[in-house]
Amino acid sequence: MKIQVLGPGCAKCFALMNHVRIAVAALNLPVEIEKVEDIKEIMKFRIMSTPALAVDGQVKFAGRVASSNEIKEILSQCLVK
């Protein structure tokens, strides 16, 4: 599983990064979280607002800071598949 946090590095992006870390730790997942800050790379995900979360290259949400609980749910759904 590959987790990417997309955002150029504003306060909201850092907040999302933290929530993702908390979720990953809670689920005990042995994965690395990549932070994508380059705007050209971010645009390849075809989103219109940041911060966003992508799991295995698929955008899960964009333009908001989801709670760590919501991220936990998203990640466990991805695990089941």
């Binding site: 992006c13 645009m43 390849k44 989103i47 219109m48 607002s49 955008v59 333009g63 908001r64 800071v65």
Partner: protein, 356 residues
Amino acid sequence: METIRLSLNSFYKFAGSFFYVPNWLKTALAAIIWYVVYKNLNVLSKWLTYDLLGFTLGSHLGSAIEFFIFEVPKVLMLLIIVVYGVGVVRTFFTPERTRNLLSGKRESLGNILAAMLGIVTPFCSCSAVPLFIGFIKSGVPIGVTFSFLIAAPMINEVAIVLLFSLFGIKVTAIYVFTGLLIAILTGWIIGHLHMEKYIEDWVNEVEAPLESDSSLLINWQDRLQAGRDAVKEIVKKVWFYIVLGIAVGAGIHGYVPTGMMAGILGKNSWWSVPLAVLIGVPMYSNAAGIVPIAQALLEKGASLGSVLAFMMSVIGLSLPEIIILRNVLKMPLILTFVGVLTIGIILVGYLFNLIF
């Protein structure tokens, strides 16, 4: 600490299972408490300043402190309610939906619509690039896109709350109306300069952003939650600037002699408006810090035109946003954008010095 917190949490859960209070009831209760406190703030601040703390009525320090004790909770309370409302309303206006509304619109009408949607669409300056590309790629004209990008940061809920509570309804309406006008006209002008070739080349190769259905909230519970999240996020971000701004404002209010600013930012010196804008453009502060200071300057003799121009240039034109936009705009377009916007703000300043 951790154990205390955990035991508190389980206590709340335990208590909660006995006294289940539905969310709507909590909201209603909060609204009632809010109203009662807000209506009595004036009395409360007078009582605190003169009875409890014992300052003399009419003294410099007394009036500064009364001003501070009255304004801080007033502004914060208004902010909470407005940010909550705006947070809920914004769940109806995602950037993707705004883009769909704007794509294929004609110039003039599109500029007007874009400026107004700029107020209600959630926007943060770090999202400026994806938003710009999303708009351009789905056929929103460049001028219409700029109308949006100018209105979105300039007219925001924090600015409106501070303007309303410190300046009153009239100045707030003037600010919003002229802000919209500047956004519409600047966008229209940029559109007619046909500067599409000054968009960075890499943008051509990017594929148009997709709909992101996950950002569309589904039910009312989510929308109300978004309102609460907005309150937490924005109040956490700006409360300190508000307290600081009002403290400086209170100091000016209590100590600076009336009429002192008339010479520098007054009506009669032709250079006061450009000077205000020149100081304002490189300054980067959110509305929370700048509006209370602007209000105090107005009170001490600065003219309304200069103060408006100052606020607009600080809030509407920010260096970080310009730097971020440089990723997608070549230098001539950046300079045109900043130039036209600056001239627009200066003209508005002169206009209001002429009228009032």
